[in-house]
Symmetry: C2
Subunit: 144 residues, 2 copies
Amino acid sequence: MSREHRQPRLAVDCIIRVRRRLVFVRRRNEPRGLALPGGFVDHGETVEDAVRREMREETGLELGDLRQFHVYSDPHRDPRCHCVSVVFTADGIGDPRAGDDAASITLVEPDTIPFAELVFDHAQIVRDYLAQMPARRSAVDQAG
Amino acid sequence: MSREHRQPRLAVDCIIRVRRRLVFVRRRNEPRGLALPGGFVDHGETVEDAVRREMREETGLELGDLRQFHVYSDPHRDPRCHCVSVVFTADGIGDPRAGDDAASITLVEPDTIPFAELVFDHAQIVRDYLAQMPARRSAVDQAG
């Protein structure tokens, strides 16, 4: 663990539930399209602090029931650089409002997600989420 | 997601089961002590490829039933740098032999782990593993 060498960049993304809908941002910058809200991790902060900061900046939402979901690290998942993302799930608290890199925010029902519009590997991430968390989805449905 | 700035380094560590025992390495370099085997992720490789490569280099083991466990990212978890670790669990395949950064390899029964000798935040990681995976441990016990 002692060699210095070129490394991937480290990001966080979050699947945010607001009642029964999922939060997506329409990106202001390339690649254009819909994405899960996310951003890069700063030196000196935990990935949990990073995702709370980025979600506040990009969506105006605070996060409840924050949980790590999965790490996505394919070198080709992001066309800009090799970027490893720690993906979280959370409940959004507050009123969503677009900020930072987001031109606008869209809340989407789980059964109407426009997968073809999702950039990066976010279609795969959302499919993994919907496939692996039926219990979670049921609980959300019951609360919505 | 467009700003360039200083970021944490990205590592992988693995909780490897060999029959009912867990694999630790006695470190050749500072900090001295026992650690889970691990290493840094290279640009262009997935975290799964990184952990398979590092475990092969450091322990001589191939990995079966490889699963992501949790990401540990406290800025003070590693005295050398801010280093975020994606921790995996796996079954070790083959005969362990020390290589690379490891001076020697120790296989430890889950109920005799020398927590005071573990460096970094590895005592916490192993405690989290033992606390959160009773079903997994039972399966290992049955097979051991």
